[in-house]
Amino acid sequence: MTTDLATPVDRPPGESKPTAPRPARRRSSTRTKLELALFLGPALVLFVGFVLVPIGIAVYYSLYDWNGFGPISDFVGIKNYKDALSGNVFQGAIGHNVIIALLSLVVQLPLSIGLALLLNRKLRGRGFLRVIVFAPYVLSEAITAVIWLLMLQPNGFADQFLRAVGLGGVIEQWLANPKVVLYTLFVVITWKYIGFGIILLLAGLQGIPAELREAAALDGASAWQTTWHIVVPLLGPTIRIWIFLSVIGSLQLFDLVWIMTLGGPANATTTMASYMIDHGFKRYEFGYGSAVAVVLFAVCFVFALLYQRFALRRDTAGALTRMAG
């Protein structure tokens, strides 16, 4: 996997190496080392100190029973992991993350593709539409959560709107009914993130030459056949990247949940991250919370590795490392 990530940049096809050693003026090696330290040092210190070290100490804390204060002495081995993974609430939390991830794939992906295809047609005001569609994505999840929290109040804006369009029958206790609330959150997530998918796919569509479609049409393919057999497969790399981002995002879901439901009612919307914060930060079970953090990390990491290995490897440029346009 590491090579998958590193290769494309190391050897960009058809590019000459920019810094061949110049015989005319060789720099002293001490000076070069000094320069390297100057340029690389700050980033390395920052990265190691605030990305790698915390993840490392989480593994250490997770082996202890510790409330966050005083000496860390109560070694419990893998007990925290056992407790978390065998507990109903955490199992439910993993389930909720998985449900959100699957729903995103089943609902958001086809919706994004359909809307992107539609918006790719010649359309007056397409630029304006692009801006509008993307707007929710730039709002923070916190603001999104507050907006929807207020709209979804019982007998609030959403209910009144539904009644007005004759859908009064479907009105629910959107945030209070444990059977409904996870799907309510999914609607909010879709509202916020669908624009990102559409924009991503529109960018992908721009890269498909019109001649390909015209050729297919000349060969007698229907619009549907052209779309299904030519356009969608060519969108493959974009779709695969979208799936990756969507699943990682679903696994990390926190802000919306925390503000809208705090994981409730009756743990109906607990996610791995909200469970971690609830135990680690609210209940001062730092050892236990760290174990949950490590599990969350492991789930994301394993998914990322497998996905890189099996899905993204086909994309010639290891898309994550592609440079921005």
Binding site: L5, L36, L40, F47, V131, P136, E141, L150, A273, I277
Partner: protein, 285 residues
């Protein structure tokens, strides 16, 4: 001639039906996107009593008090200032250190270069959420709780991978002849980096700066853990807190939320091309 006409006619009709459907769908998309935003903005011009009696109605009369009171209080401006300060520090650190590292990783050849680069790319897989709990304990040990640096520094650290991954190939692609010419003119490598490479990398630098800024601006979880004192709250944290604090006064919460949306939406309108380009470009397949 006539055959052409008969073939063309049904096709044109078909196209216009398709176009009509497209426009209808476009309108639905706009409505679904904009209505919640309008609900917040317009709701801020109503009183809570108006909203309670008719949640989807228009203001009658229009009330300016909610907005006036919030704009006149120091709270909103303080949240805004805190958010801006943190986002600026995080962006400067990420882009500053990130571009230096990308320079070293793209234009020097040395042992371990690829391993160091791989180490940074691995960071792409560790979003901040995963590390927040241990990060909180780490920041407490370093005495950075309740400090803007306690949020800005980790955010910068987590922005480094994407910054370096975007900048490195960009700097790599700048022809070596330019560097040779600079060296012939007596420039040191540091001088080349500062006076030639950075200006040439401006488009990529803007992209990574926008990414780092937006990520920091919208951050919620880390400020939630680091800040206890509402004096230090950022805007996302402030909005969420304001909402739970004044949950009985819907109109005021709506006005507060509406005002909080303005910076993000305004920034987006100004830099739409950069933001969309940056976000899609950085993940483009």
């Amino acid at each position: 001639m006539s055959t052409v006409a008969t073939i063309a006619a049904p096709r044109a009709r078909k196209r216009s039906t398709g176009t009509a459907i497209t426009y209808v769908v476009a309108l639905v998309i706009i409505a679904v996107t904009v209505v919640p935003l309008l609900f917040v903005i317009v709701g801020g011009f109503r009183t809570t009593a108006q909203i309670n009696s008719d949640p989807a109605g228009l203001p009658s009369p229009w009330v300016w008090d909610n907005y006036r009171i919030i704009l006149g209080s120091s709270q909103f401006w303080r949240f805004l200032g805190n958010s801006a300060l943190i986002a600026v520090i995080a962006t400067v650190l990420a882009v500053g250190f990130g571009s230096m590292a990308a320079f070293a990783l793209s234009r020097y050849t040395f042992k371990g270069r690829d391993s160091i680069y791989t180490l940074f790319t691995l960071g792409l897989l560790f979003p901040l959420t995963v590390a927040t709990l241990p990060l909180y304990l780490w920041l407490r040990q370093l005495g950075l709780l309740e400090s803007p640096l306690g949020v800005a520094i980790p955010e910068a650290a987590f922005s480094l991978p994407v910054t370096i991954v975007i900048l490195r190939p960009f700097m790599h692609a700048i022809p070596g002849e330019i560097e040779d010419a600079a060296v012939l003119d007596g420039a040191t490598r540091v001088g080349f980096f500062w006076r030639i490479l950075l200006p040439l990398s401006m488009p990529a630098l803007t992209t990574v700066a926008v990414l780092a800024f937006v990520t920091s601006w919208n951050g919620y979880l880390l400020p939630l853990l680091v800040f206890n004192d509402s004096q230090h709250f950022t805007l996302p944290l402030g909005v969420a807190t304001f909402q739970s604090q004044y949950s009985q006064d819907t109109a005021r919460v709506l006005a507060f939320t509406a005002l909080s949306m303005i910076p993000a939406l305004g920034f987006f309108m100004l830099a739409e091309r950069r933001i969309v380009g940056g976000l899609t470009g950085s993940v483009k397949g």
